[in-house]
Amino acid sequence: MKWGRWLKGVLAFAVLVTLHYTVRPLLGLRVSVDFLVIAVLLMSVRTRPGAAALLGFATGLVSDALSPSAFGAGALAMSLIGFAASRLKAVFFADNILLHASFFFAGKWVHDFVYLVVDRQATLLALAAQLFVWTPLSAALTALVGVFLIVVFRATFEPQAV
């Protein structure tokens, strides 16, 4: 039974990663859903903090492979949010949609913040515009989709006590 749930979780993770590389480029919008963040957050609440950090690190490396100039930034951001999500998994035990949405919103915003800071390529103005205009919009959309996925696939994404 435990293996079955774990397998479903891995499958859901793979589907979300696939969506990240198909739906996002298909829509081509500046404000887009970050399926990788959703995938890392949802998997992290099912694993121990160390494993969650490793999962985030691996996922971040995959996303960094497509932007070598910021290589490492995505890995660090994903490691941090994976670890933090695993620590804060109590949030997921609360059956509150607003809390879930805040969880995804904060995860996306922190990811972008760490990424942009480590990347060090944006000017201060561009950094501010990204963090306070575009990132909140993307985070809101990501939160919306994340909550939708939790509601629809509740059985799959239900967190487990460690």
């Binding site: 590389y21 160390g50 490396l61 070598p68 290589f71 890995a75 660090l76 490691s79």
Partner: protein, 311 residues
Amino acid sequence: VVLVACAALSLLAAVLPAELREELAGGLRRTVVAPLIALQTQAERARGAFVTRDVTAARIDSLLLRNAQLTELASENERLRRLIGLGRALQSGFVPAEALHGRGLGDEHTVLLTVGARAGVVERAVVVAPDGLVGVVTSVDPETSLAILWTHPDFRVSAMTGDGATFGIIQPHPGDEPERYLLELRGVAFRDALKSGTIVRSSGLGSLYPRGIPVGTVLGQLESREGWSRTYLLRPAVRPPDVTSVMVLLPDRVRSDLSSVWSSPAGADSTRRGMVSAGDSLAAMAARLDSVRRDSLRRDSTVRDTGRVRP
């Protein structure tokens, strides 16, 4: 500990030399990330196709429309060239006209011609096309005239074979839809058997139609009740739907023999080719004249310019 290790590795990756970072990223792109890159490429292509779909569809529509217009223009061009060729062959005694088809009931056997009495058209003037006989004018107004086509039940023309050995009267074949646009050659002497493919022309007897205009081609013999004559089914030289530009023969031309205009041992096809080439040669002649005129104008202007420069 794991988080610290991951963070340290991430920061290390971020501060690596650019070449080394590119090498690491390239290694990932070639292995683990390759399927994801393929997915992303397909998705971006799909988006590009979706975004440009309307533009592409509009372009294809425009090309199709232009292509259709070009086909129409080409066929009209060929038709007009053949008409010019016919005019060149007739040389004189004709008036070119547009034939306008009526769309009402009873109008299918008549056409309105865009020339009338002011152009010299008279009643019973013969109407011809590059392929042969079209009909005859029945009423004339100052600017327009009305002509019946050979499909009209009252249409009759005295006809003969190309060698002038066999004679008969041509009239429309009163058949149903498949044979509606065919002709009959009636009153052929029983001793004269015609082969399929024989071209039949106007005989010039009766002083209405000049001699030598193609009317049709023999398809085969029809059953005849009269034991003393034969009746043949003919394929007409001119199809009524194709009649749009015609020549109206003036009275003085009717009295002459037009056999030389349409006569050709190889048949109607070579006649048609001859008419087309005549049209081409007319166009070439016009181009040559235009070129000569331009050259002479250029010489004139050069002489004037030269005269101006030299004191």
